[in-house]
């Protein structure tokens, strides 16, 4: 594999650093986006601890825990895939990224089933056969839950599309560059980091 140098960069190292810097700045803006939601949830927990805990207890802890493990495992596979691409083992990289994308789909299926369960239990604000929050604070918790996990699920969906695209292109004669695969991997790891914070706040605030 040769990384192609292109204008305006004079050497490969600087080009690589610029690529990486751009990606990290974008990820920092994503961290701001999710950070605001996390802070909103923490403020709600400070002011309404009892309803917050009551609503948190009604979430499906098993599904949330399994989903955390699924995302952590997919992150491992993406890291291995990026390593394999750097060593020109594109076949291995294809498999790793492909399985990671499948794990992302598994995450979305589990999340969807949870949403459906909450829909049936009256926990989905403004939808479902009936509404059963118990208190205004719990209703606010569920609002925050659906906004935060919904936005996160959208990011998972985008990540799955990018991982699958990379896996597909790795099989062809013009595979994505090492830096390109690594940047997609960075995005996926950030999605993982966001979930690592959402999980305890939403599911473990009992």
């Amino acid at each position: 594999m040769t990384t192609l140098r292109h204008e305006p960069f004079l050497d490969i190292a600087r080009q690589r650093e610029a690529d990486r810097l751009g990606m990290v700045v974008f990820l920092a803006s994503e961290a701001m986006l999710f950070g605001a939601l996390v802070m909103g949830l923490l403020a709600l927990r400070t002011f309404q601890p009892a309803p917050f805990a009551a609503a948190s207890e009604r979430l499906n802890l098993l599904a949330g825990s399994v989903n955390t493990a699924v995302l952590l495992t997919s992150s491992l596979l993406v890291a291995i895939g990026a390593e394999a691409r750097a060593l020109n083992r594109n076949r291995l990289a294809t498999w790793m990224l492909g399985i990671a994308a499948l794990l992302g789909i598994a995450f979305l299926i589990i999340k969807g089933r949870e949403y459906y369960q909450e829909y049936g239990e009256g926990l989905m604000p403004g939808a479902g056969p009936y509404q059963d929050f118990g208190s205004p604070g719990a209703r606010m918790f569920m609002d925050g839950y659906f906004v935060a996990t919904g936005l996160h699920a959208f990011h998972v969906l985008v990540g799955v599309a990018m991982l699958a695209g990379c896996a597909w292109r790795l099989r062809r004669s013009d595979p994505p560059s090492k830096v390109g695969i690594e940047n997609v991997g960075l995005y996926w790891h950030l999605v993982d980091v966001v979930w690592v914070f959402l999980f305890p706040i939403l599911y473990l605030s009992r």
């Binding site: 990290v24 400070t46 002011f47 914070f197 305890p200």
Partner: protein, 115 residues
């Protein structure tokens, strides 16, 4: 190849996940939430440092990542300095009444308040 390092990181992440779930069942009151946030920070640190390969990045790229964390801390502190000192904050409430005097029944029913 750093395969061994990646696998060990993954094992550590899963151990931390089981720890945070176990900690949430301990009868230690609000310390649970502190423990859970500390474990989340440790997990995020492992992912950022090993999986995202920040340990191999240049100072410039690391700085961009650190600024994100610093900005979140600044914004969080500003938010806390507002919310934590509002009139119905748990920090400044004194024995069930607030600075405006005891809650009227009307105000009490509009939003539940924790003891």
């Amino acid at each position: 190849m750093g395969l061994r390092r990646l696998l060990l990181t993954w094992v550590a992440l899963l151990v931390l996940l089981s720890m945070t779930i176990a900690a949430s069942f301990l009868p230690i009151g609000n310390w649970r939430q502190l423990a859970n946030m500390a474990i989340a920070a440790a997990k995020a640190g492992l992912i950022v440092w090993i999986f995202m390969k920040m340990r191999q990045e240049t100072a410039l790229v690391r700085l961009a990542g650190v600024i994100a964390a610093v900005l979140l801390l600044v914004l969080g502190s500003l938010l806390a300095s507002d919310y934590l000192f509002r009139i119905d904050s748990p920090l400044i409430r004194i024995d069930g009444s607030n600075a405006r005097g005891p809650l009227t029944p009307d105000a009490a029913s509009s939003g539940e308040r924790s003891p």
